[in-house]
Structures are given as structure tokens and as C-alpha cells.
């Protein structure tokens, strides 16, 4: 299936950073991903939107293999996703992930949450990791909370720590799986601001979200999914003003009605 020669290891920009080819996944009788083809270039910000149950979260989680796929091929920086073991762990270290429910390590301090990856996965020295962590926490505005436990922080603060934790691994691409869906309304913007700043710095991002404002402001491309398929993709401007498919028109009609 993957007998074609691997591209050379030099990190050229010739190949897309993330590519999915004919990816399929079933949950029992449910066909949640149908022949998904998607390429994301280096530095590109792609926002995936669509009604709930459309498969957008599954798509996002498949890219670092938190969800397995039935067939098709996913490549990150030219390399096919390994099945299990050390090679997969190495690849995941290059792919940052931010979850809907934050998933900060509940028994570790904010600082330890951020230093754990660099120290335990990359073998960075403690002092160096702490310096890196504090600078990242400062960047997302929670450096004054470094010694607290996650449960002592608000949802918005926790999610910003989660972003810092992912960035500490110096990932090639960041995946965001509905990062603001579990937040109180007044905390959504602080997280989106951190994400917009990240996008402006040139980070490659794949963002599953319902935040149309973020899509307009930061996305290079909007991918619209429904029923496990990519129905259409376009620039945000084009997608929001002139959606082509009926499904997209219907979806936008529903969410933009108020």
C-alpha cells in the first residue's frame, strides 16, 4: 500500500506538511470519514467547520492517530503515520494537540505540565525546560499561575496552558479540536487571541471550531465537512459570502441567523 519511495528526509517545502489520501473510517455501521483527501501546506491555517457528527473531530484526531483509520494514508511532513510504538510517539511529539476539555495533567503544576514533554520526551535539561515553559506561559498570559494546579485555573487559563504545553514540543503543526467549545463565553476570546497570534507567527494549524470570527480573521482556508465528507473548501471570504453547496448554505443559514 505504501511501497512508493519515501521522500528524502530533508525538510523541503516541496511536499505538503500534512496530507490525507482516501482516508476512510467506520464506527461499526457508521461511515464517519469517507474518502477524505486533504493537503495542508507549511504555514497554512485551515479551519474545519461543519455540523456536529460530520466527522471533523475524528479527522483532526486521526492526524496524530488518537483515532485509527480503516484505510487510506496520512502523512505528516512526508512520513506515513507509523502504526504504534516509538516511531508513533516520535511523530506525535512533532504534532501539537489542543483538546476541547483541555486535558491538563491534573496532578501536576502548570509549570510541570509544560516542562514534562520537553524533559521526558526530548531529554531537555530541567533548567532549560523551565525557562522555555515560563516564556511560553508568558506568551499566553498565564506565567503568574505557574505553581498552581490545573483545577485552580479558569477554563480559559487552562486552555491557554494547554496551548503552551503543546508549543513546548516545538511542533511542526498544531491541531485544535474544538478548543473553545467547553469554555464560558467570556473566556473564549482570550483563547482565540492566543490562537490568532500563533497563526500570525506562521504556525501551521488545523482548527476544528464553531468560531466563525476566528475563521474569518485567521484562516487561509475553510474546509466544510458534512456526513463524513469534505463538501467544499474555499477562502473564508469566499466561503462565508458565497458558499457553493446546499449543505454549506443550509449550515451557514442556521448558525448566522441570529
Amino acid at each position: 500500500m505504501t511501497s512508493e519511495p519515501q521522500p528524502s528526509t530533508s525538510a523541503s517545502s516541496a511536499h505538503p506538511l500534512v496530507s490525507l489520501k482516501k482516508v476512510n473510517k467506520h464506527y461499526g455501521p457508521l461511515h464517519v470519514l469517507k474518502d477524505i483527501d486533504l493537503e495542508v501546506a507549511r504555514g497554512e491555517v485551515v479551519v474545519v467547520i461543519g455540523p456536529s457528527g460530520s466527522g471533523k473531530s475524528t479527522l483532526c484526531r486521526a492526524i496524530n492517530r488518537l483515532e485509527t483509520i480503516d484505510d487510506g494514508e496520512i502523512r505528516v511532513d512526508g512520513k506515513v503515520l507509523p502504526a504504534e510504538g516509538k516511531a508513533l510517539a516520535r511523530l506525535r511529539a512533532d504534532v501539537g494537540m489542543v483538546f476541547q476539555s483541555f486535558n491538563l495533567f491534573a496532578h501536576k503544576s502548570i509549570l510541570e505540565n509544560v516542562t514534562l514533554g520537553p524533559v521526558k520526551v526530548k531529554g531537555m535539561k530541567g533548567g532549560e525546560a523551565k525557562e522555555l515553559a515560563l516564556s511560553l506561559l508568558k506568551r499566553v498570559g498565564v506565567d503568574n499561575q505557574a505553581d498552581k494546579l490545573p483545577a485552580q485555573l479558569s477554563g480559559g487559563q487552562q486552555q491557554r496552558v494547554a496551548i503552551a504545553r503543546a508549543l513546548a514540543m516545538k511542533p511542526k503543526v498544531m491541531l485544535f479540536d474544538e478548543p473553545t467549545s467547553a469554555l464560558d463565553p467570556e473566556m473564549i476570546n482570550e483563547v482565540l487571541d492566543a490562537m490568532v497570534a500563533l497563526a500570525k507567527e506562521g504556525m501551521t494549524m488545523i482548527v476544528v471550531t464553531h468560531e466563525m470570527g476566528f475563521a474569518r480573521k485567521a484562516a487561509d482556508r475553510v474546509v466544510f465537512m458534512a456526513d463524513g465528507q469534505i463538501v467544499e473548501q474555499a477562502t473564508p471570504e469566499e466561503f462565508f459570502t458565497n458558499p457553493r453547496s446546499e449543505r454549506a448554505k443550509d449550515f451557514l443559514g442556521k448558525i448566522l441567523a441570529h
Binding site: 488518537l66 510504538g85 516509538k86 516520535r90 504534532v95 483538546f99 486535558n103 495533567f105
Partner: protein, 225 residues
């Protein structure tokens, strides 16, 4: 009453309980080690290890402790000549610890697994997402939280172990408390009821602090979410 008190001059009751405390201590340490390994096997992504862990638990949890301990003496030592030391009495003591460990490790494993169930799936996903493979993720993220969620059930296993240490009598550990009780009843049949109460109260005194301590610790160390 005087009759009763002379019992303590003739028989060294605290020394007998000390043997049970030592049996409990070593069996607790080893069954915690073995039980943790078994729990790791059961939650590992490798099907053959999962199967092995499950098989162990189902065999030894469902075998009477008396049979396991008696097998240590009659099977391992008597038939197979397995000896853990040259000292005759110490050998029985160690075989009893082995039997207690093998039996209680199955319960420790299940207590830890119940603790693992208190850890949200997202914790494991986040650990994997930053590039930790199974063992580091288990050691750094899952088990520390699982132990803190398993303190109460682990306390129950320890309580059972303290009382089950008397089964070492079936493994020829003659110095432990229930063996001494039997001896005392044999020679002082007139005091059978006070003797029973002495040993019952002795175990209650040993066990109550364990219950209090684990209840306190499970609240104190609970992971805030």
C-alpha cells in the same frame, strides 16, 4: 481475672502478633509490586499481556488462600524441594509471604484498575499527544493519579491481608497469632472465651488505624479536577 492475666506471662501474645505484622508488611510490599505489574499488563495495548494479566487475576482471586498457602509447604517445599532459605522456620515464613503475595496481588491489581478508571481518558490522550509512549505515560501520568484514586480499595485489600495473615498457620508458620491462640486454648480450655476475645480485639486494634488512615488519605490526596 488473675487466671486470665497469667496467660500473658505464660504466652507471648504480642510476639505472635508481631509475626503477623511482619507477614503482612512483606506480603503488602510484594503484592503491591506484583499487583502494579499485573495492572500495567491489563491496561497495556498488547493483547497477549492483557490476556496474561486477566488470566492471573481470575486464577488466583478465585483460589482459596488456604490452598495456595498449603501448596507452598506441601507442594513447593515438600514435593518440589523449593527452598527460599536454609533456615527451616524462616523458609516456612517466606513461603507464607509468597503465598499471601500471590493471592493478594490479584486483588491489588483490581484495586489499581479501579483507580485507573477514575482517571479521565483525556489524560492518557494528552500524554500520548506530547509523544509519551505507553510505559512513560503510565508511569508519569496514569498511575500517579490511579494510585490516589485507589487508596480506599487498596486499604480494603490491606485490611483483608492483615486478617488473612493468620492463614499462614496452614503453611506451618507456628509462631503467628492464630497458632498461638490454638495452643493457648489447648492448654487453658477453661479460658477459651477470654482467649478468643483477646485475639479478636488484637486484630481489631491492628485494623482500625488502617481504615482511618486510608479514609483520611483518600480524601487528602484526591486529585482535584
Amino acid at each position: 481475672m488473675d487466671n486470665f492475666l497469667t496467660l500473658f506471662e505464660t504466652y507471648n501474645v504480642p510476639a505472635a502478633f508481631w509475626v503477623n505484622i511482619q507477614l503482612t508488611f512483606w506480603a503488602a510490599v510484594w503484592s503491591l509490586v506484583l499487583g502494579t505489574l499485573l495492572a500495567l499488563m491489563r491496561i497495556s495495548p498488547i493483547p497477549s499481556l492483557q490476556w496474561l494479566g486477566a488470566a492471573y487475576v481470575n486464577i488466583f482471586r478465585n483460589t482459596p488462600l488456604t490452598i495456595i498457602i498449603a501448596f507452598g509447604v506441601l507442594g513447593l517445599f515438600g514435593q518440589l524441594q523449593v527452598s527460599l532459605t536454609d533456615d527451616f522456620n524462616l523458609n516456612f515464613f517466606r513461603l507464607a509471604i509468597l503465598g499471601l503475595t500471590i493471592y493478594h496481588a490479584a486483588f491489588v491489581c483490581e484495586a489499581i484498575r479501579s483507580g485507573v478508571n477514575t482517571v479521565p481518558l483525556g489524560q492518557a490522550e494528552a500524554a500520548r499527544a506530547i509523544g509519551l509512549s505507553f510505559l512513560p505515560a503510565a508511569r508519569l501520568i496514569i498511575l500517579p493519579q490511579a494510585f490516589r484514586g485507589a487508596i480506599a480499595p487498596l486499604g480494603n485489600v490491606l485490611i483483608a491481608l492483615i486478617k488473612n495473615s493468620t492463614v499462614a498457620a496452614a503453611g506451618s508458620v507456628a509462631a503467628e497469632a492464630s497458632s498461638l491462640m490454638k495452643t493457648m486454648i489447648e492448654f487453658r480450655g477453661d479460658l477459651v472465651i477470654p482467649i478468643f476475645f483477646t485475639f479478636a480485639i488484637g486484630f481489631v486494634i491492628l485494623v482500625i488505624p488502617v481504615g482511618l488512615l486510608t479514609t483520611w488519605a483518600s480524601r487528602r490526596l484526591a486529585v482535584a479536577r
